[in-house]
């Protein structure tokens, strides 16, 4: 990693025996190594970054990960397919619905089934709510790292409403496990659609508030504008996807370019940046929230009554009232609960556009009820790998900007 104009930025204290040597020797001071994290508020969890500093400018940056490694891929190999959904939920815990969506779509591809229309629409609504929730946490914490405390409270106030919606639909706020193989856990309760619609209608005024809090804030603009550049070529070579890649100017969004789950029916734009600095990534995520709002509004209009699960007793347990009447339904229910759902042997890779980038699932099935191998392609893992590119030649304070604008969740990086 090269350093740029290090000489002008050196600000170290001269040692006792160098005190006389004066200013001309300052540039020859040895670089200093410091640890950022793993217990540092701006590392969003347990990320440790070893920085080599020449004065205040970064000579090299080495992220160390693995502090949250819990062997989730190994655990999934020992769970049934339905149980595995609870585990993928906990990887990127800020955006559980997109994690679930990718996993269930991959398994459904192996099974060769397609979910009913109502389930598809509700899935899209929740995936987009998930994107908004994830971007809200990113915005709040990123602004807090930059010293703007109040944005955090506003963002969490709005995220709370999304969590309320999930709680009403799935019974859980954080790890809902709402999407199931073959459909959904259940239909949304009465009044849910109205609540979601109220959220969609109010949302633009809240976004206007965030812009008002930040866009005119000289500290925020100063620290983001012209800092932490990423070129499209570097991003592609490092497997960096999502808002990071789009912030650098490449309009690659899997919802648009390789649609899944019915996204081709919706009308939305893919915001891109121009210069690839931290400010562009901020604008991309902000505008993405508005695009998500547009998708949710369209989806709510398309919601028609109907079933929310496929009617296949070998995949989805039969309805409760049938179990008490039909012997066959009872047997299917019992078999699904004791043996689990058997997935035909084969392998599949399915990548979807998560809030942080492409989240992919590579599932190898041996025909049993448990995945033989389930690899999760974590967007944060690849995006974080590019951190040294962002802080090349920057000041130590910009490392915090770089981590914030990368938008990482260590639960997913380490799995």
């Amino acid at each position: 990693m090269e350093e740029t104009d290090a000489g002008s930025r050196v600000a170290s204290q001269p040692g006792p025996d160098e005190a006389e040597a004066g200013a001309e020797q300052e540039s020859e001071l040895r670089p200093m190594e410091i640890n950022l994290g793993p217990q540092h508020p701006s590392t969003h969890g347990v990320l440790r970054v070893v920085l080599e500093l020449n004065g205040e400018s970064v000579v090299s940056c080495t992220p160390h990960i693995g502090y949250l490694h819990t062997g989730m891929e190994k655990t999934i190999e020992h769970q049934r397919y339905q149980q595995a959904i609870t585990i993928v939920d906990r990887m990127d815990y800020l955006s559980p619905m997109t994690n679930e969506l990718g996993f269930v779509l991959a398994v459904e591809k192996l099974l060769g089934i397609e979910v009913p229309r109502r389930a598809q629409v509700i899935r899209i609504i929740n995936a987009e709510l998930s994107r908004i929730a994830s971007h809200l946490v990113w915005l709040g914490t990123h602004a807090m790292d930059m010293g703007a405390m109040s944005v955090f409270f506003y963002c969490f106030r709005e995220r709370e409403l999304i969590l309320d919606l999930w709680e009403a639909a799935a019974g859980q706020r954080m790890n809902p496990t709402y999407m199931r193989i073959g459909g959904l856990d259940g239909d949304v309760p009465d009044g849910w659609v109205e609540k979601a619609r109220a959220f969609v209608e109010e949302f633009p005024t809240w976004v206007r508030d965030y812009y008002r809090l930040l866009d005119q804030n000289p500290l925020w603009v100063e620290r983001l504008r012209g800092n932490c550049f990423l070129t499209v070529e570097d991003a592609i070579a490092h497997g960096i996807t999502g808002p990071m890649l789009r912030g650098s100017g490449l309009a690659l969004d899997l919802r648009k370019s390789a649609p899944y789950a019915g996204y081709e029916e919706y009308d939305f734009d893919v915001p891109v940046g121009e210069r690839g600095d931290a400010f562009d990534r901020y604008m991309v995520r902000m505008r993405e929230m508005e695009e998500s709002r547009k998708i949710i509004a369209q989806a709510l209009d398309r919601l028609e009554p109907g079933p929310v699960s496929v009617r296949d007793d070998k995949i989805v347990p039969p309805p409760k009232e049938e179990i008490s009447r039909s012997m066959e339904a009872l047997i299917y229910h019992f078999k699904l609960m004791t043996e689990g759902l058997k997935v035909p042997a084969g392998e599949v890779y399915l990548g979807i556009e998560g809030p942080k980038g492409e989240i992919g699932y590579y599932i190898v099935s041996d025909g049993s009820a448990r995945p033989f191998r389930c690899r999760v392609r974590p967007p944060c893992f690849y995006n974080l790998q590019g951190l040294p590119l962002l802080v090349r030649g920057q000041l130590v304070a910009d490392v915090v900007t770089a981590i914030g604008s990368t938008d990482i969740v260590l639960g997913e990086v380490d799995r």
Partner: protein, 163 residues
């Protein structure tokens, strides 16, 4: 949108260049190339030149319970950001000396995923600039994602705490 013809041309070129070492199969989601391990780097370079510019993911599968020989398979997912094509490469790797060429010279982004595969499967990547453990502690013994590694982990002595 997805440009099928370009994808076919790129894959056909890779198969034609190494008729002995590259075999094509059809997956339910994308074309699959079975590549002999020593050829992985030239095949990837060729595919990259022909449009597969992103290494989406790199991982491995341990086939021990199925009794497959060779035991491991290193799996690559390539992606073209221009044509939106995908292809899956699978390179079989033996049990006695699990080693394959590193792709870091082709895609710098292969660095961490290769370290992860080394860490969790024990497959070495020849030519990797820094092949060290990434998820597990540096002094860990064993490779947790191998199928003969117990789910509940292995017995490990308590760390010595010096006063």
């Amino acid at each position: 949108m997805i440009d099928q013809a370009g994808q076919e041309a790129a894959i056909a070129a890779a198969v034609a260049a190494w008729p002995e070492g590259v075999r094509r199969e059809e997956g339910i989601d994308m074309p699959v190339l079975i590549v002999q391990a020593p050829l992985i780097r030239p095949v990837c370079e060729e595919l990259k030149r022909r449009g597969f510019d992103m290494l989406t993911d790199l991982t491995a599968v341990d086939w021990l319970p199925m009794g497959k020989v060779p035991r491991f398979e290193v799996v690559y997912h390539l992606f073209s950001t221009r044509g939106m094509w995908r292809v899956r490469l699978k390179a079989p790797v033996g049990e006695e000396d699990p080693v394959i060429d590193s792709l870091v010279p082709v895609w710098p982004g292969a660095n961490w995923p290769e370290r992860e595969v080394w860490d969790l499967f024990g497959i070495r990547f020849e030519g990797h600039p820094n092949l060290t453990r990434i998820m597990m502690p540096d002094d860990w013994e064993g490779f947790p994602l191998r199928k003969d590694y117990p789910l509940e982990g292995t017995e490990r002595p308590a760390p010595i705490v010096r006063e």
